[in-house]
Symmetry: C2
Subunit: 218 residues, 2 copies
């Protein structure tokens, strides 16, 4: 029996991965991290999706993340700025690495080897810990750290947003992903505020996917 | 100016590393992790040592560690057992990896590249995340995760307890290490309870060091 733990934020990417995992594994558990993020509504969506699909879901409190760093994703009074050519100031250094390390600990405690994450190096906005080279290195480090054969599963790693929409469509969950996930920095579900970098990326990908679908049906 | 961040538990090894770092770097900062461990007195000792030597010291709350795992180091009601040929049940899977990842985040936020840890693969009791191969892999992963040139410094990695006592002696801090550090699982400072595996390892190393010193002076 193949078991997987899905790192679930409640956003488009990780929720798509949850359904990908439901197709590819016999038993699924999900873990989310509560780190005082602006968009707490993400966690609500993560919770609801798991309840609706009878998926065991653990929320880990990571308040301490905001003790460590200064940035606009956890400190609500800092304005979100998009810097030219750099990472947006929503970036929390090392965040993915921490989340995946915690997830691996939870996984091993549940006798789960496969840990699924929705990182993509196509749309990585300069985040170094969304690159495939980092994921490979982390996989080795985790295996050495715990003497365990983890497999980090990254179904979206080489997909852009258009392709991620296509994956959701192929999995038969296009509408769920479109309506019941939160990508927006302002915490608005679905199409979101339409203005923040995350909403723009999401809507541009969706537009391209729908255009291509339309064209192919002609 | 060379700066270093020392991961300080208040035990023999990390406190020896603190003094090693004071010799080898121009500016030192220390970080400790409060994870509801049995021996909270360790943290008190870490704090005192830093105050006495004017070292900036940050304590990071890691209560969430006990949410994740079941073990006798954080769950006080579980009896400590020493398993034959395996790791003691004080082991928290992935703990060193988490601590070093958090430490690296703190380091980068303070423009510090060098992170000092007292891990030793000589006395590692089967802990996979005390091995040199793990440290090297983690160093690479951290550098990729944060796009930063971390150097994990492990002055004790190839030292046994006798040699660690010698290092403290050579650094001129033998008495401080002997009296003002806590190794004991029961939280008794200095020579400790004398019964737990950590106390035995510490006292056997001390005995060997003193015997060799005595012999060399003859």
């Amino acid at each position: 029996m193949k078991k997987a733990l899905v790192v679930l934020s409640g956003g488009q990417d990780s929720t798509t991965c949850l359904f990908w995992a439901l197709e590819n594994f016999d038993e699924i558990k999900a873990v989310s991290f509560d780190y005082g993020q602006r968009n707490e509504i993400e966690l609500e969506f993560a919770k609801q999706i798991c309840e609706q699909h009878n998926i065991s879901h653990q929320i880990v409190n990571m308040d301490l993340l905001s003790e460590l760093t200064n940035n606009s994703l956890t400190k609500h009074y800092i304005e979100i700025e998009e810097k030219e050519g750099g990472v947006p100031n929503t970036f929390v250094d090392g965040r993915n690495m921490l989340f995946l390390t915690f997830a691996a600990i939870v996984a091993k405690n549940n006798d789960i080897r496969h840990v699924v994450t929705g990182v993509s190096q196509e749309d990585f906005s300069g985040y170094p810990d969304c690159r495939n080279v980092f994921i490979k290195s982390l996989n080795t480090t985790l295996n050495l750290a715990m003497d365990y054969e983890f497999e980090l599963e990254t179904p979206l790693i080489f997909l852009n947003k258009e392709e991620t929409w296509k994956l959701a469509y192929d999995l038969g969950v296009f509408d769920i992903i479109k309506e019941n996930t939160v990508t927006c920095y302002e915490g608005k579900p679905g199409a979101g505020c339409g203005e923040c970098p995350a909403c723009k990326l999401r809507s541009e990908g969706l537009k391209k996917f729908l255009e291509r679908k339309e064209k192919n049906h002609e």
